[in-house]
């Protein structure tokens, strides 16, 4: 990978960013190839649940008065809004 000196033009910086994005993509591909198909199959829902836990923690901080069920409903409402 070509190194970016930090003093180049904007085009040089963009090229460096594009190169880093390419390397990042390749790392993701290699990581996925090392996972078993079973791990890849299960990972999508696991990633979603982790994101939900963070979102629920945020909701709890903003709305300490809400019950757990109400927080889950609020999360569902946020997800519906994001998908609409």
């Amino acid at each position: 990978m070509r190194e970016w000196s930090g003093s180049g033009s904007l085009t040089g910086m963009e090229e460096a960013i594009a190169e880093m994005a390419k390397v990042s993509d390749l790392l993701k591909v290699r990581r996925a190839r090392k996972m078993t198909p079973r791990e890849r199959f299960l990972a999508g829902a696991e990633l979603f649940e982790e994101a939900c836990l963070w979102s629920l923690a945020g909701i709890a901080r903003r709305h300490p008065e809400m019950t757990e069920a109400e927080r889950t409903e609020e999360l569902k409402r946020m997800l519906r809004k994001a998908n609409s």
């Binding site: 993509d25 591909v29 198909p37 890849r40 199959f41 990972a43 829902a45 696991e46």
Partner: protein, 192 residues
């Protein structure tokens, strides 16, 4: 109940009832490609209307059938939604349509060992590519195109390209197939 627990419970129900099915959508592209977060599981099931009437009574605790049913565009497939108690995760159920590719990918589906003693049926990597390219064009969904690129990046060298091209020609998606190949190519060129 987690999303994966709910899916396993549903697969057990289908297996015990003898309902042929396959897990499609992001679960199938994650299986063949690079996993991304998914808030639902899509399952295609092939069953008569009479036997389907038995289905709500078979559902395990924690999974409920939503009253509202709809039709999915592109293949006009009937869609029903299963809600998981206490979770935003959903399972979308589709009946096998008469669409020729829907039929062929179902006939070619493969059984994989994901959960102990419970086989999971999935479409082949080629059929994931064909179907998601079709959706990326018909429904203008960029994430379907990205999923195709990741399946190509991970499965390259093992793919049946004449089969993919045949269906892409049928669906008029050859141009978008070429674009996906262009995006996936650096992963094969830089492979160690």
């Amino acid at each position: 109940m987690t999303g994966n627990d709910a899916l396993l419970a549903l697969i057990r129900v289908f297996t015990e009832a003898g309902f042929p099915y396959m897990v499609v959508g992001s679960y199938s592209s994650n299986f063949w490609g690079i996993p991304r977060s998914t808030k639902d599981a899509d399952v295609v099931v092939h069953v008569s209307a009479e036997r389907w009437a038995e289905f709500p009574g078979m559902l395990p605790a924690g999974i409920e059938l939503d009253d509202q049913m709809s039709f999915k565009m592109v293949t006009s497939t009937r869609r029903e939604i299963l809600r998981v108690t206490g979770s935003p995760f959903e399972i979308e159920l589709f009946r096998l349509s008469d669409d020729p590719h829907d039929r062929e990918r179902f006939a070619r589906r493969v059984s994989e060992e994901i959960f102990p003693a419970v086989p999971v049926f999935l479409p082949t990597a080629e059929d994931v590519i064909v179907q998601k390219l079709r959706w990326s064009v018909a429904a203008k969904r960029p994430k379907d195109f990205s999923d195709v690129v990741t399946v190509m990046q991970v499965q390259w060298g093992k793919l049946d390209w004449p089969y993919i091209e045949k269906w892409c020609a049928e669906h008029a998606t050859l141009e978008v197939l070429r674009q996906a190949i262009d995006q996936a190519a650096p992963a094969w060129e830089n492979d160690d």
